[in-house]
């Protein structure tokens, strides 16, 4: 049996680095701050790989770390299982690459140590939310991540950024209220905050009103964090105003962790909902796909375009997961991973363009491919991957989602997914055409390709986009399968965690 202590590293390392950086940042050169940041991100990546290794050996393994040695359900615990392993790897992979990218990119801004402090606090929140086994802890981590992201959105401190951050903060707080209310109601009913224990209590003690009511509260709360239509109003502003590396982080992993992961965990593993709530999820998903993409196509600001496309891709994931079948959940989770990588890549490209020519307006750019070949080519790869052109990885997840929709007989939803795919293609190809192709403008004759680390992270993500499809091969499928199984086990989660905690 593995020592479950390693799961605490996912919180300890980023939290420590956040404080370390904020303390030493004033006194040492930025180079050391960068070193601390990249080393701790790298360590996190290594630990998440170790987690994957555990899952590879036994995909149903559950590791429980009891804080202070208190037995469940009295103490707080941290739980590592298939879904957590999947999310941890996704988050920390993206975080590592974005951290490297930021080292160069954040030269544009003044205060690097503050940036990395907030970055690591956000990472703490996300990692903590993923591994926690306690509902209130989940809320705390959610707020840690949210508040640091409010600050990061406002990092440029121009009028636009502050306005976006304000909107984001207000709407995020409303969502937090709903979530908090839901948690309070659940606590009042089940007299426990431990998620495993709560799952057990809820399966033995039925309630007619609580679960529907709480489900809607969570649907709204986490739906807003995940930016499902009609709760998406904050996202385009926030994601386009933040520094590009943070936009990539927000779109790539933050909304998925805070919104989707938390929703999946609570819906499937704690509340054990099914039927009409999943239908509602699917409906919101399909709605998000279409509405957001129509809006994406008409944008001229690169990052706004990408932000709207993010909403629609979240729709795909929710549509897949809402189907509730093994195939649908597989498609949804695979799309989650694929979208994390491809959308981060696209935001990093947008950042690279912004870095070089200081504008985000597509109408002002042209022919940048001649001067920025790496950015242009990785952008092409990210674009075709996100719009589901084979053999890039987005194709496979969309294929699985469409197959799963048809399998359940939802032709309308499948059609929405397909039309969405077409619209995504139009949206991202617009970016390709206006930014990178065509004739180079006179005023951009002297621009240069971005520095090495930015190129490096973009290339890594592009490579993942190209070969991502191999995750469906039998040898590597444990990565997705173990996560799918956790969702499918439903409220058995409670029993499994309890058993694992005694071992």
């Amino acid at each position: 049996m593995h020592n479950p202590f390693f799961v605490t590293y996912f919180v300890i390392i980023p939290l420590l680095s956040a404080f370390l950086i904020s303390i030493i940042g004033k006194y040492v050169k930025h180079r050391y701050v960068e070193m601390v940041a990249s080393i701790s991100c790298f360590l996190l990546l290594v630990f998440s790989l170790q987690g994957l290794n555990i899952l590879r050996k036994a995909s149903d393994s559950v590791l429980v770390y009891k804080l202070g040695g208190w037995a469940l359900p009295f103490g707080i615990c941290m739980v590592f299982d298939g879904l957590a392993g999947f999310m941890l790897f996704t988050v920390n992979l993206i975080a590592f690459l974005i951290c490297l990218y930021s080292i160069n990119y954040m030269e544009k801004y003044t205060d690097k140590p503050k940036f990395f402090t907030l970055f690591f606090l956000m990472l703490t929140g996300m990692n903590g939310l993923i591994i926690t086994g306690d509902l209130f802890n989940l809320f705390v981590f959610l707020e840690v991540a949210s508040i640091s992201s409010y600050a990061l959105v406002a990092f440029g401190t121009e009028a636009e950024e502050l306005e976006a951050s304000f909107k984001y903060a207000i709407m995020g707080s409303v969502a937090s209220c709903f979530i908090f209310l839901g948690i309070a109601l659940l606590y009042g009913f089940a007299s426990t905050l431990n998620m495993a224990d709560m799952a057990n209590v809820l399966s033995t003690k039925p309630s007619n009103w609580l679960i529907p009511f709480v489900s809607v509260l969570f649907l709204m709360g986490f739906g807003l964090k995940a930016a499902l239509v009609p709760f998406h109003g904050w996202l385009p502003d926030a994601h386009s105003s933040a520094p590009a590396s943070i936009s990539a982080m927000l779109s790539g992993v933050l909304i998925k962790t805070l919104g989707l992961y938390a929703l999946m965990r609570i819906f499937f593993n704690v509340l054990g909902v099914s039927g009409i709530y999943l239908s509602a999820l699917m409906f919101l998903g399909a709605l998000s796909i279409i509405v957001a993409l129509v809006l994406a196509v008409v944008q001229w600001d690169i990052k706004r375009l990408l932000a709207y496309s993010t909403i629609s891709q979240i729709g795909y994931i929710v549509l897949g997961i809402g189907l509730g079948t093994p195939l649908g959940i597989l498609g949804g989770l695979f799309h989650l991973f694929n979208h994390s990588t491809s959308k981060s890549l696209l935001f990093l490209n947008a950042g690279a363009v912004d870095y070089s020519i200081n504008t985000r307006d597509l109408r002002e750019m042209s022919g940048l491919k001649q001067k920025m070949p790496v950015t242009a080519n990785t952008n092409l790869i990210g674009s075709v991957a996100i719009s589901g052109i084979p053999p890039f990885h987005g194709f496979f997840s969309k294929l699985i989602i469409v197959l799963a929709c048809i399998q359940r007989g939802f032709i309308g939803y499948a059609l929405a997914a397909v039309i969405g795919s077409l619209l995504t293609l139009s949206a991202v190809m617009k970016m390709q055409r206006y930014a990178f192709l065509g004739e180079l403008k006179e005023q951009y004759k002297n621009i240069k390709e971005v520095p090495f680390l930015m190129k490096f992270s973009m290339s890594c993500l592009a490579i993942i986009c190209i070969v991502g499809g191999i995750l469906l091969l039998p040898n590597l499928k444990f990565f997705l399968d173990s996560a799918v199984n956790v969702i499918l086990e439903g409220r058995d989660y409670g029993r499994l965690v309890m058993e694992a905690s005694i071992r």
């Binding site: 304000f166 909107k167 207000i170 709407m171 409303v174 709903f178 529907p212 009511f213 489900s215 809607v216 649907l219 709204m220 807003l224 009609p230 709760f231 109003g233 904050w234 385009p236 502003d237 009409i276 709530y277 509602a280 509405v291 129509v294 809006l295 196509v297 008409v298 022919g367 092409l380 075709v384 719009s387 589901g388 052109i389 084979p390 053999p391 194709f395 969309k398 294929l399 469409v402 197959l403 929709c405 048809i406 399998q407 032709i411 499948a414 059609l415 397909v418 039309i419 795919s421 077409l422 619209l423 293609l425 139009s426 190809m429 617009k430 390709q432 055409r433 192709l437 065509g438 004739e439």
Partner: protein, 548 residues
Amino acid sequence: MSALIAKFYPMLIVDNLSRFIFWAILLFGALIAVYSFRFMKEKEGLAKYYLYLIFTIIASLGVVLSNNLILLLVFWGFLGFTLYSLINIEASASATAKKTLIIVGGTDTLMLLGIAIIWNLSQTFRIDQMRIALDQPIAVFAYILLACACFAKAGALPFHSWVPDCAKDAPLPVVALLPASLDKLLGIYLLVRLSLNIFVMNNAMNLFLMIVGAVTIVAAVIMALVQHDLKRLLGYHAVSQVGYMVLGIGTGSLIGIAGSIFHMLNNAIYKSCLFLTAGDVESQTKTTDLDMLGGLAKFMPITFAGALIASFSISGVPPFNGFVSKWMIYQGLVERIAAQKTVVISVLCLLAAMFGSALTLASFMKLIHAAFLGTEGAHKKVSEVHWTMWLPVMILALLCAVFGIFAKQIPLNKFVFPAVGAGEFVGFWASSWATLLILFGILIGFLIYFLGNTKGLIREDNNYIGGGAVGQDERVSGVDFYNAIRELKFFKYLYKKEEGKYFDIYEQGKNLLGFVGKLFQFLHNGVLPTYLVWALLGTAVLFLTLIR
């Protein structure tokens, strides 16, 4: 080779149909590669060009060999991406590249949906195990979705609009390879597979195909008639010819399907030949505007010969190959009429096909006259192209002649009939005998010409106006004769609409999207209270619907 592929069964499979398309793809790939050596010499990004060329050929081979629909879709979709990248080799073609990728890639996603439905109906992805009856609406829907992907790839209406744009803007070898030959081969290959293997066709679907085919033939050829640009003219013909193939498959009779497979092969041959001659003209004169060209036959005799043969072939002049396959398609239609199956529509389609053929001849008369004959154009005296550029043209022209004269002996018996599993047909065009007769007729003509002492009867002189030589600006180019058509009342309206991109599904989609987008943008006014209201309204609706 078959043994190697058999090892990958059930992922890959090779049968008579896929075998000859396999070799055809390799042939076209090789010819275009040879052609590109010279033509693309001065372009940038050559390594990328050849890389994508090889990818294209591999993916095309993958499509015809796949026995698994998902695998087929992967190769098929990847072709859209390679086409996009190949068009982008030409720096100014980015708008066309985007349009192409959106039309082709968009229909690929429709195909994905169709495949998902097929999978649900038959519980397998293996093509050799599928026989789906078109008796329920969902199966028909799936068929139409897949057919749309075929139409877009081959360039039939209403997904045709990328082909003429592509023909004009993309690098020429790319046009000759993809829209002119490989995309046709693959699109029609899949349509034949759909109609023969995957689905059991019924009369309604046949009618659907016939109507799409007939409309494509006539609409595109009418557009081709008034084009002033050599490449764009050829692009519209590339669309029009697809109509014949779709029509042939739609007849549902074996000879019609065999005819359309043969036409697909022939079209790939003469159409890439024509595009390559257009490339020769472009590389020597630096223009493809028919108003500027003229009298090239003297300077580029080999290119002229190739263009002439291919033009005869595409217009269905015997004894070249285009005639034989069109003849077979007509036969398929006649068979339908004889069998009293939807006589009116079949007769109309037959008329449309023949009318289309006549207009094709008319527009190629224009092309040949305007580019190669007539008085000299604005260009300088030019020389014949390098041999790597005329050799592919000659090989293709030779194939046009051989496949026409020995139609039965070589292409039909070797490739086409085994592919559809058929043998003899009644009332078949005896091409070799006919060729002998034609040659005999030509011989007699020559004899009369030389022996009949016509010397004094004809006077040859240069054009003149008012006793002076015709200046460059007063020159009548071959194009002007056809402007009369443009002025006809109905056609005038039609051309105006087409030039306003009224029939272009891409532009219409863009307009619609822009309209809906404006509407949605109105609701996203950037004011926080609005967004909060949306969110809270959404929550209220969720409460009302989910809590009973």
